[in-house]
Protein backbone atom coordinates (compact mmCIF):
# COMPACT_ATOMS: atom_id res chain seq x y z
CA UNK A 1 0.00 0.00 0.00
CA UNK A 2 1.27 3.47 -0.90
CA UNK A 3 1.96 6.30 1.51
CA UNK A 4 -0.99 8.50 2.42
CA UNK A 5 -0.83 12.24 1.94
CA UNK A 6 -2.94 14.94 3.54
CA UNK A 7 -2.81 18.37 1.96
CA UNK A 8 -3.95 21.33 3.96
CA UNK A 9 -4.35 24.97 3.15
CA UNK A 10 -5.22 27.84 5.44
CA UNK A 11 -7.53 30.35 3.83
CA UNK A 12 -7.72 32.55 6.89
CA UNK A 13 -5.70 35.73 6.28
CA UNK A 14 -2.71 35.63 8.60
CA UNK A 15 -3.23 39.22 9.75
CA UNK A 16 -6.64 38.21 11.07
CA UNK A 17 -5.37 35.07 12.78
CA UNK A 18 -1.81 35.92 13.81
CA UNK A 19 -1.50 32.86 16.04
CA UNK A 20 -2.28 30.48 13.24
CA UNK A 21 0.44 29.27 10.91
CA UNK A 22 0.73 26.23 8.68
CA UNK A 23 3.32 24.89 11.12
CA UNK A 24 0.96 25.12 14.11
CA UNK A 25 -1.89 23.72 12.11
CA UNK A 26 0.35 20.85 11.05
CA UNK A 27 1.24 20.18 14.68
CA UNK A 28 -2.44 20.11 15.60
CA UNK A 29 -3.23 17.78 12.72
CA UNK A 30 -0.41 15.44 13.74
CA UNK A 31 -1.82 15.25 17.26
CA UNK A 32 -5.28 14.53 15.90
CA UNK A 33 -3.93 11.89 13.50
CA UNK A 34 -2.13 10.16 16.35
CA UNK A 35 -5.41 9.84 18.26
CA UNK A 36 -7.54 8.81 15.28
CA UNK A 37 -4.93 6.18 14.36
CA UNK A 38 -5.21 4.78 17.85
CA UNK A 39 -9.01 4.82 17.71
CA UNK A 40 -9.03 3.06 14.36
CA UNK A 41 -7.25 0.10 15.96
CA UNK A 42 -9.80 -0.28 18.70
CA UNK A 43 -9.87 -4.09 18.72
CA UNK A 44 -6.09 -4.52 18.67
CA UNK A 45 -4.33 -5.22 21.94
CA UNK A 46 -1.53 -2.83 21.02
CA UNK A 47 -1.84 0.01 18.55
CA UNK A 48 0.71 0.48 15.76
CA UNK A 49 2.13 3.99 15.58
CA UNK A 50 2.13 5.93 12.32
CA UNK A 51 4.98 8.29 11.54
CA UNK A 52 4.24 11.33 9.40
CA UNK A 53 6.60 13.76 7.71
CA UNK A 54 5.92 17.32 6.61
CA UNK A 55 6.28 16.88 2.89
CA UNK A 56 6.05 20.39 1.53
CA UNK A 57 5.34 23.85 2.86
CA UNK A 58 4.57 26.86 0.72
CA UNK A 59 2.93 30.05 1.98
CA UNK A 60 -0.26 29.01 3.72
CA UNK A 61 -0.31 25.39 2.61
CA UNK A 62 1.56 22.23 3.45
CA UNK A 63 1.31 18.46 3.19
CA UNK A 64 1.78 15.58 5.59
CA UNK A 65 2.84 12.22 4.25
CA UNK A 66 2.85 8.93 6.14
CA UNK A 67 6.15 7.06 6.29
CA UNK A 68 4.96 3.94 8.09
CA UNK A 69 1.87 1.77 8.57
CA UNK A 70 0.05 3.01 5.45
CA UNK A 71 -3.14 1.06 6.16
CA UNK A 72 -3.56 2.62 9.60
CA UNK A 73 -2.48 6.01 8.25
CA UNK A 74 -5.18 5.86 5.60
CA UNK A 75 -7.92 5.00 8.10
CA UNK A 76 -6.75 7.69 10.51
CA UNK A 77 -6.63 10.36 7.81
CA UNK A 78 -10.05 9.45 6.42
CA UNK A 79 -11.55 9.45 9.92
CA UNK A 80 -10.12 12.88 10.57
CA UNK A 81 -11.22 14.51 7.33
CA UNK A 82 -14.65 12.86 7.26
CA UNK A 83 -15.09 13.85 10.90
CA UNK A 84 -14.40 17.49 10.12
CA UNK A 85 -16.97 17.26 7.32
CA UNK A 86 -19.56 15.92 9.76
CA UNK A 87 -18.66 18.59 12.31
CA UNK A 88 -19.39 21.33 9.78
CA UNK A 89 -22.92 19.99 9.43
CA UNK A 90 -24.11 18.89 12.89
CA UNK A 91 -23.58 19.36 16.61
CA UNK A 92 -22.92 15.65 17.00
CA UNK A 93 -19.54 14.13 17.70
CA UNK A 94 -18.40 12.57 14.41
CA UNK A 95 -18.62 8.82 14.04
CA UNK A 96 -15.49 7.06 15.29
CA UNK A 97 -14.19 10.06 17.22
CA UNK A 98 -13.88 10.19 20.96
CA UNK A 99 -14.08 13.17 23.27
CA UNK A 100 -10.35 13.80 23.07
CA UNK A 101 -10.39 14.16 19.29
CA UNK A 102 -13.52 16.29 19.48
CA UNK A 103 -12.03 18.67 22.02
CA UNK A 104 -8.75 19.07 20.17
CA UNK A 105 -10.48 19.48 16.81
CA UNK A 106 -12.76 22.09 18.38
CA UNK A 107 -9.71 24.11 19.38
CA UNK A 108 -8.28 23.91 15.87
CA UNK A 109 -11.52 24.90 14.16
CA UNK A 110 -12.30 27.68 16.64
CA UNK A 111 -9.23 29.58 15.45
CA UNK A 112 -10.39 29.59 11.83
CA UNK A 113 -12.49 32.14 10.02
CA UNK A 114 -16.25 32.07 10.00
CA UNK A 115 -17.12 32.08 6.32
CA UNK A 116 -16.51 29.99 3.27
CA UNK A 117 -13.42 31.96 2.24
CA UNK A 118 -11.56 31.83 5.53
CA UNK A 119 -11.37 28.21 6.51
CA UNK A 120 -9.00 25.29 6.37
CA UNK A 121 -9.04 23.03 3.34
CA UNK A 122 -8.09 19.42 3.94
CA UNK A 123 -7.76 16.65 1.40
CA UNK A 124 -6.60 13.07 1.60
CA UNK A 125 -5.06 11.47 -1.44
CA UNK A 126 -4.93 7.75 -1.76
CA UNK A 127 -7.32 4.98 -2.72
CA UNK A 128 -10.11 7.18 -1.30
CA UNK A 129 -10.05 10.86 -2.17
CA UNK A 130 -11.80 12.85 0.57
CA UNK A 131 -11.95 16.59 1.13
CA UNK A 132 -13.19 18.88 3.88
CA UNK A 133 -13.60 22.60 4.21
CA UNK A 134 -13.38 23.45 7.89
CA UNK A 135 -14.56 26.74 9.38
CA UNK A 136 -15.25 28.13 12.83
CA UNK A 137 -18.75 26.65 12.51
CA UNK A 138 -17.22 23.20 13.04
CA UNK A 139 -15.52 24.57 16.14
CA UNK A 140 -18.85 25.71 17.59
CA UNK A 141 -20.51 22.42 16.72
CA UNK A 142 -17.70 20.39 18.29
CA UNK A 143 -17.66 22.54 21.41
CA UNK A 144 -21.34 21.77 21.87
CA UNK A 145 -20.85 18.10 20.96
CA UNK A 146 -18.16 17.62 23.60
CA UNK A 147 -20.04 19.44 26.36
CA UNK A 148 -21.48 16.58 28.42
CA UNK A 149 -24.04 18.60 30.29
CA UNK A 150 -26.71 15.94 30.76
CA UNK A 151 -26.34 12.98 33.09
CA UNK A 152 -28.72 10.13 33.73
CA UNK A 153 -28.57 6.56 34.98
CA UNK A 154 -28.96 3.73 32.52
CA UNK A 155 -27.18 1.25 30.35
CA UNK A 156 -25.77 0.84 26.87
CA UNK A 157 -25.50 -2.39 24.90
CA UNK A 158 -22.62 -2.76 22.50
CA UNK A 159 -19.29 -4.32 21.62
CA UNK A 160 -16.16 -3.57 23.63
CA UNK A 161 -13.04 -2.25 21.99
CA UNK A 162 -9.63 -1.97 23.64
CA UNK A 163 -9.61 -2.07 27.42
CA UNK A 164 -6.91 0.08 29.02
CA UNK A 165 -5.99 -0.14 32.69
CA UNK A 166 -2.82 1.78 33.50
CA UNK A 167 -2.67 3.18 36.99
CA UNK A 168 -5.65 5.42 37.53
CA UNK A 169 -6.49 5.49 33.84
CA UNK A 170 -9.05 2.74 33.36
CA UNK A 171 -11.02 3.14 30.16
CA UNK A 172 -12.57 1.07 27.42
CA UNK A 173 -14.22 1.82 24.11
CA UNK A 174 -17.75 0.60 23.60
CA UNK A 175 -19.43 0.57 20.18
CA UNK A 176 -23.15 1.03 20.77
CA UNK A 177 -25.44 -1.48 19.04
CA UNK A 178 -28.08 1.21 18.74
CA UNK A 179 -26.11 4.09 17.26
CA UNK A 180 -22.95 2.39 15.99
CA UNK A 181 -21.01 5.13 17.74
CA UNK A 182 -18.11 5.00 20.12
CA UNK A 183 -18.67 5.58 23.83
CA UNK A 184 -15.90 5.94 26.41
CA UNK A 185 -16.35 3.70 29.44
CA UNK A 186 -14.59 4.58 32.69
CA UNK A 187 -14.37 1.92 35.34
CA UNK A 188 -12.97 1.33 38.82
CA UNK A 189 -10.15 -0.95 39.86
CA UNK A 190 -12.64 -3.58 41.02
CA UNK A 191 -13.89 -4.00 37.43
CA UNK A 192 -10.51 -4.41 35.68
CA UNK A 193 -10.58 -8.21 35.51
CA UNK A 194 -14.25 -8.31 34.59
CA UNK A 195 -13.71 -5.85 31.75
CA UNK A 196 -10.77 -7.80 30.38
CA UNK A 197 -12.78 -11.01 30.43
CA UNK A 198 -15.75 -9.35 28.78
CA UNK A 199 -13.61 -8.04 25.93
CA UNK A 200 -13.70 -11.39 24.13
CA UNK A 201 -17.51 -11.45 24.03
CA UNK A 202 -19.52 -9.96 21.24
CA UNK A 203 -22.08 -8.00 23.23
CA UNK A 204 -22.09 -6.50 26.70
CA UNK A 205 -24.45 -4.28 28.64
CA UNK A 206 -22.70 -1.51 30.53
CA UNK A 207 -24.71 0.09 33.32
CA UNK A 208 -23.82 3.28 35.13
CA UNK A 209 -24.00 7.05 34.94
CA UNK A 210 -24.51 8.11 31.32
CA UNK A 211 -23.06 11.43 30.18
CA UNK A 212 -24.61 12.92 27.06
CA UNK A 213 -24.40 16.11 25.01
CA UNK A 214 -27.33 18.31 24.04
CA UNK A 215 -27.79 16.31 20.84
CA UNK A 216 -28.58 13.26 22.96
CA UNK A 217 -25.38 11.40 22.18
CA UNK A 218 -24.22 9.32 25.13
CA UNK A 219 -20.44 9.74 24.97
CA UNK A 220 -19.27 8.49 28.34
CA UNK A 221 -20.41 5.94 30.88
CA UNK A 222 -19.05 5.72 34.41
CA UNK A 223 -19.48 2.01 34.94
CA UNK A 224 -21.29 0.47 37.89
CA UNK A 225 -21.88 -2.99 36.52
CA UNK A 226 -21.25 -5.07 33.45
CA UNK A 227 -23.25 -7.94 31.96
CA UNK A 228 -22.14 -10.22 29.14
CA UNK A 229 -25.05 -10.90 26.80
CA UNK A 230 -26.02 -14.00 24.87
CA UNK A 231 -24.19 -13.97 21.56
CA UNK A 232 -25.79 -17.02 20.07
CA UNK A 233 -27.51 -16.20 16.79
CA UNK A 234 -31.14 -17.27 17.21
CA UNK A 235 -33.58 -18.02 14.41
CA UNK A 236 -36.55 -15.86 15.31
CA UNK A 237 -39.10 -17.81 13.26
CA UNK A 238 -38.15 -21.01 15.09
CA UNK A 239 -37.69 -19.45 18.53
CA UNK A 240 -41.13 -17.79 18.47
CA UNK A 241 -43.35 -19.90 16.19
CA UNK A 242 -46.82 -18.62 15.35
CA UNK A 243 -49.25 -19.20 18.25
CA UNK A 244 -46.82 -21.27 20.33
CA UNK A 245 -48.13 -19.95 23.66
CA UNK A 246 -51.83 -19.00 23.33
CA UNK A 247 -52.35 -19.36 27.10
CA UNK A 248 -49.91 -16.52 27.88
CA UNK A 249 -52.69 -13.93 27.97
CA UNK A 250 -55.12 -16.09 29.94
CA UNK A 251 -57.53 -16.18 27.02
CA UNK A 252 -57.45 -12.44 26.31
CA UNK A 253 -56.84 -11.01 22.86
CA UNK A 254 -53.66 -8.99 22.28
CA UNK A 255 -55.49 -5.68 22.59
CA UNK A 256 -57.32 -6.58 25.81
CA UNK A 257 -54.19 -8.10 27.34
CA UNK A 258 -52.15 -4.97 26.64
CA UNK A 259 -54.86 -2.76 28.04
CA UNK A 260 -54.80 -4.74 31.26
CA UNK A 261 -51.00 -4.84 31.52
CA UNK A 262 -50.89 -1.07 30.95
CA UNK A 263 -53.46 -0.50 33.67
CA UNK A 264 -56.01 0.86 31.22
CA UNK A 265 -58.54 -1.90 31.80
Amino acid sequence: MEAVQIDYELETPLDQMPALTPFETGTDLLHLLAITADLEQFRDAKARKVDWRVHSVSGTSAALRSISEPDVASRAALSLVRGFNEAEETEQLPRGWNLRVGQRAARVASRLGDDDNTGLRLSVHGPDDVRAHVTRRAGRHLKSATDLRITSYGSVVGVLGRVTAKGKQRTAALWSDLTGRRIDVRFGEQHVEEMRNAWAHSHVEVTGVLHENVSGQVLRVNLDSLRVLDRERVNLSEALPHGFYPEMTGGLGAREYLRLVRGEG
Partner: protein, 160 residues
Protein backbone atom coordinates in the same frame (compact mmCIF):
# COMPACT_ATOMS: atom_id res chain seq x y z
CA UNK B 1 -21.78 -6.17 -5.66
CA UNK B 2 -21.93 -4.73 -2.15
CA UNK B 3 -24.42 -6.37 0.19
CA UNK B 4 -27.46 -4.15 0.73
CA UNK B 5 -27.84 -2.62 4.17
CA UNK B 6 -30.68 -4.29 6.10
CA UNK B 7 -33.87 -2.31 6.53
CA UNK B 8 -34.37 -1.13 10.09
CA UNK B 9 -37.78 -2.04 11.46
CA UNK B 10 -39.13 -1.38 14.95
CA UNK B 11 -41.97 -3.42 16.40
CA UNK B 12 -44.36 -2.90 19.29
CA UNK B 13 -45.76 -5.21 21.94
CA UNK B 14 -49.08 -5.95 20.24
CA UNK B 15 -47.34 -7.40 17.19
CA UNK B 16 -45.23 -9.75 19.31
CA UNK B 17 -48.16 -10.82 21.49
CA UNK B 18 -50.19 -11.64 18.38
CA UNK B 19 -47.33 -13.78 17.09
CA UNK B 20 -46.94 -15.62 20.38
CA UNK B 21 -50.64 -16.25 21.02
CA UNK B 22 -51.89 -16.57 17.47
CA UNK B 23 -54.34 -13.71 17.99
CA UNK B 24 -55.24 -11.44 15.04
CA UNK B 25 -54.64 -14.21 12.48
CA UNK B 26 -55.14 -11.76 9.61
CA UNK B 27 -51.67 -10.38 10.43
CA UNK B 28 -49.95 -13.76 10.84
CA UNK B 29 -48.60 -13.93 7.24
CA UNK B 30 -47.22 -10.40 7.50
CA UNK B 31 -45.50 -11.10 10.81
CA UNK B 32 -44.09 -14.35 9.43
CA UNK B 33 -42.64 -12.46 6.48
CA UNK B 34 -41.08 -9.91 8.82
CA UNK B 35 -39.51 -12.63 10.96
CA UNK B 36 -38.15 -14.43 7.89
CA UNK B 37 -36.62 -11.17 6.69
CA UNK B 38 -35.01 -10.71 10.11
CA UNK B 39 -33.67 -14.28 10.06
CA UNK B 40 -32.15 -13.74 6.62
CA UNK B 41 -30.67 -10.45 7.89
CA UNK B 42 -32.51 -8.36 5.34
CA UNK B 43 -34.20 -6.65 8.26
CA UNK B 44 -32.69 -5.48 11.53
CA UNK B 45 -35.26 -5.43 14.32
CA UNK B 46 -35.55 -2.78 17.03
CA UNK B 47 -37.90 -2.48 19.97
CA UNK B 48 -38.43 -0.45 23.10
CA UNK B 49 -37.41 -1.95 26.42
CA UNK B 50 -41.13 -1.61 27.19
CA UNK B 51 -41.47 -4.94 25.36
CA UNK B 52 -40.22 -6.71 28.50
CA UNK B 53 -42.94 -5.57 30.92
CA UNK B 54 -45.68 -5.49 28.31
CA UNK B 55 -45.16 -8.81 26.53
CA UNK B 56 -44.10 -10.71 29.64
CA UNK B 57 -45.79 -8.65 32.32
CA UNK B 58 -49.15 -10.39 32.52
CA UNK B 59 -48.49 -13.79 33.99
CA UNK B 60 -52.15 -14.64 33.30
CA UNK B 61 -51.53 -18.25 32.33
CA UNK B 62 -52.31 -20.48 35.29
CA UNK B 63 -49.76 -21.80 35.95
CA UNK B 64 -47.22 -19.83 33.85
CA UNK B 65 -45.11 -22.03 31.57
CA UNK B 66 -41.54 -21.09 32.55
CA UNK B 67 -39.96 -22.75 29.49
CA UNK B 68 -42.12 -20.75 27.08
CA UNK B 69 -41.68 -17.53 29.04
CA UNK B 70 -37.95 -18.12 29.09
CA UNK B 71 -37.91 -18.63 25.33
CA UNK B 72 -39.57 -15.24 24.86
CA UNK B 73 -37.26 -13.57 27.37
CA UNK B 74 -34.17 -14.97 25.65
CA UNK B 75 -35.28 -13.57 22.31
CA UNK B 76 -35.91 -10.12 23.77
CA UNK B 77 -32.59 -10.22 25.63
CA UNK B 78 -30.49 -11.26 22.64
CA UNK B 79 -28.98 -8.30 20.77
CA UNK B 80 -28.31 -10.45 17.72
CA UNK B 81 -32.11 -10.81 17.34
CA UNK B 82 -33.43 -7.42 18.41
CA UNK B 83 -31.73 -4.18 19.38
CA UNK B 84 -33.39 -2.78 22.46
CA UNK B 85 -34.00 0.95 22.63
CA UNK B 86 -33.92 2.13 26.20
CA UNK B 87 -36.35 4.69 27.50
CA UNK B 88 -33.66 7.27 28.01
CA UNK B 89 -34.23 10.91 28.79
CA UNK B 90 -34.19 11.76 25.08
CA UNK B 91 -36.66 9.01 24.18
CA UNK B 92 -38.92 10.11 27.03
CA UNK B 93 -38.86 13.74 25.90
CA UNK B 94 -39.62 12.67 22.34
CA UNK B 95 -42.47 10.46 23.61
CA UNK B 96 -43.91 13.49 25.38
CA UNK B 97 -43.85 15.44 22.11
CA UNK B 98 -45.40 12.60 20.10
CA UNK B 99 -48.09 11.99 22.71
CA UNK B 100 -49.23 15.59 22.47
CA UNK B 101 -48.80 15.90 18.73
CA UNK B 102 -50.52 12.65 17.72
CA UNK B 103 -52.79 12.17 20.76
CA UNK B 104 -51.19 8.81 21.49
CA UNK B 105 -51.32 6.90 24.74
CA UNK B 106 -48.10 7.10 26.73
CA UNK B 107 -46.99 3.54 25.96
CA UNK B 108 -47.72 3.88 22.23
CA UNK B 109 -45.89 7.22 22.15
CA UNK B 110 -42.90 5.60 23.87
CA UNK B 111 -42.75 2.74 21.34
CA UNK B 112 -42.91 5.21 18.46
CA UNK B 113 -40.38 7.56 20.07
CA UNK B 114 -37.98 4.64 20.47
CA UNK B 115 -38.37 3.86 16.77
CA UNK B 116 -37.73 7.49 15.81
CA UNK B 117 -34.71 7.71 18.12
CA UNK B 118 -33.23 4.54 16.61
CA UNK B 119 -33.63 6.04 13.14
CA UNK B 120 -35.54 3.06 11.76
CA UNK B 121 -37.15 2.96 8.33
CA UNK B 122 -40.46 1.52 9.51
CA UNK B 123 -42.45 1.07 12.69
CA UNK B 124 -44.61 -2.04 12.41
CA UNK B 125 -47.74 -2.47 14.50
CA UNK B 126 -51.10 -4.21 14.28
CA UNK B 127 -52.74 -1.41 16.26
CA UNK B 128 -54.80 0.30 13.58
CA UNK B 129 -56.92 2.14 16.12
CA UNK B 130 -54.21 4.17 17.79
CA UNK B 131 -51.73 4.63 14.94
CA UNK B 132 -52.37 6.03 11.48
CA UNK B 133 -51.11 3.26 9.24
CA UNK B 134 -49.33 4.64 6.19
CA UNK B 135 -48.38 7.92 7.86
CA UNK B 136 -44.80 9.02 8.36
CA UNK B 137 -43.67 10.44 11.69
CA UNK B 138 -40.26 12.11 11.94
CA UNK B 139 -39.07 10.08 8.93
CA UNK B 140 -40.45 6.77 10.22
CA UNK B 141 -43.21 5.09 8.23
CA UNK B 142 -45.93 3.45 10.30
CA UNK B 143 -46.95 0.20 8.66
CA UNK B 144 -48.70 -3.09 9.15
CA UNK B 145 -46.40 -6.12 9.30
CA UNK B 146 -45.65 -7.51 5.89
CA UNK B 147 -45.82 -4.12 4.20
CA UNK B 148 -43.31 -3.88 1.40
CA UNK B 149 -39.87 -3.93 2.94
CA UNK B 150 -38.16 -3.01 -0.30
CA UNK B 151 -37.54 -4.57 -3.66
CA UNK B 152 -35.90 -7.63 -2.16
CA UNK B 153 -38.76 -8.37 0.22
CA UNK B 154 -40.11 -11.89 0.21
CA UNK B 155 -43.69 -12.41 -0.90
CA UNK B 156 -46.18 -12.87 1.91
CA UNK B 157 -45.95 -16.34 3.33
CA UNK B 158 -47.99 -18.49 5.69
CA UNK B 159 -48.04 -18.06 9.46
CA UNK B 160 -45.25 -20.57 10.24
Amino acid sequence: MAKAEPKKVAIDSGLLIARITGDRPEHAPGIATLFHEADSQKVKLFGSTLLFPEVLGGGYDDPVDPAKENAIFRVLDNPSVITMVQVTRQVAVLARDLRRELHLKTADATHLASAVFAGVDMFMTIDENDFTIGSTVRGVEIALPGSALGEDALPLIGPG
